[in-house]
Symmetry: C2
Subunit: 190 residues, 2 copies
């Protein structure tokens, strides 16, 4: 049983059960008859940095989580491994949603932010209770209308600007309520 296929099997187990297998379960997973075989294999995985250990000796995932390789574009040539490893080990959940208790998702309808690269059908992650800065994309209700727009502030004048030259900026006549600022955008093609 080589390390790579073992990693793959453990990863599959972890994705399915949301936890790591015990040594006993690894035996079923790998076809071992003895727990000690799993124990030694796990030691190798720890050595390889794929698994880790708790303060109290329990197995914990380390580089087991979907660590997609991050490639960089070199102008001419094939894609090569990028030096930055920011995304490689972190889950998208942690990467995209900093404060899950203050966030919600919104499926975008309309084309008012299309020049900002936000299309119909995209999902935006919105964080509440945060002071918007000039240029942020915000979810707002302006005079009863509910929209996704740029937050603009010019000489103490606050208004909402669309990311689409077909539309005009919105100046609040009566009421402007902010429901949060957009911290990330997600799009899925297939």
């Amino acid at each position: 049983m080589d390390i790579e296929s073992a990693t793959q099997k453990i990863r599959r187990f972890f994705r399915k059960n949301k936890r790591l297998p015990s040594y006993q379960e690894m035996c079923r997973l790998f076809g071992f008859a003895s727990k000690h075989a799993s124990f030694k294999l796990a030691a190798k995985l720890i050595e390889a940095g794929i698994l880790g250990k708790d303060d109290k000796g329990r197995l914990i995932p380390d580089r087991l989580l979907p660590s997609l390789p991050v490639l960089g574009i070199i102008r001419a040539g094939s894609p090569t491994a990028a030096d930055e490893q920011i995304l490689s080990s972190v889950s998208f959940d942690d990467y995209l949603v900093a404060k899950p208790e203050k966030s919600y998702l919104l499926r975008v309808s309309g084309d008012s932010m299309i020049e900002a690269g936000i299309q119909e059908g995209d999902v935006v992650i919105v964080e509440k209770d945060r002071e918007p800065k000039e240029g942020d994309i915000v979810v707002a209700s302006i005079d009863g209308e509910f929209t996704l727009k740029y937050f603009r502030k010019r000489d103490n004048l606050v208004f909402l600007a669309p990311g689409n030259s077909k539309y005009s900026p919105l100046f609040p006549a009566e009421n402007l309520t902010l429901f949060g600022i957009v911290i990330s955008v997600v799009r899925k093609y297939h």
Copy 2:
């Protein structure tokens, strides 16, 4: 100890340790002196659908995972809970990356796909070993140049089209190698 604050503490533990606490650890977490108190509290959380149980009696997360509310835009009015719950319980990892073993990440440079809503600095998730269909966005090497473009096929003529009217379509003179098709896009603002 009410259910909500217990859920919050367990969620915090799970995010930190990538696993659920044992009843003993819950005692430290909740300030209990007896495991049985944790046991009964966990029973309530299971009743509430927040936790679940394994085939073998182990605790597993159910609705504990970061379940961001998905809101929908009603034309006039405040955002309300959307009927679709696709995203609510699924992690972004599972949502965005269908086949992690065949995927990689690419940080986008350049503006050649800006009209497709893909900007400089965005991260695209690319899946390898997949036959591109007309209109797919692909990562390709054309005559030694490495790019992100639309895959076009017209009357058996294959070429690459940019998502930016400033640029022209690229017709392969010698060589066209595909490195995968873009299945999702991720952008982070803050």
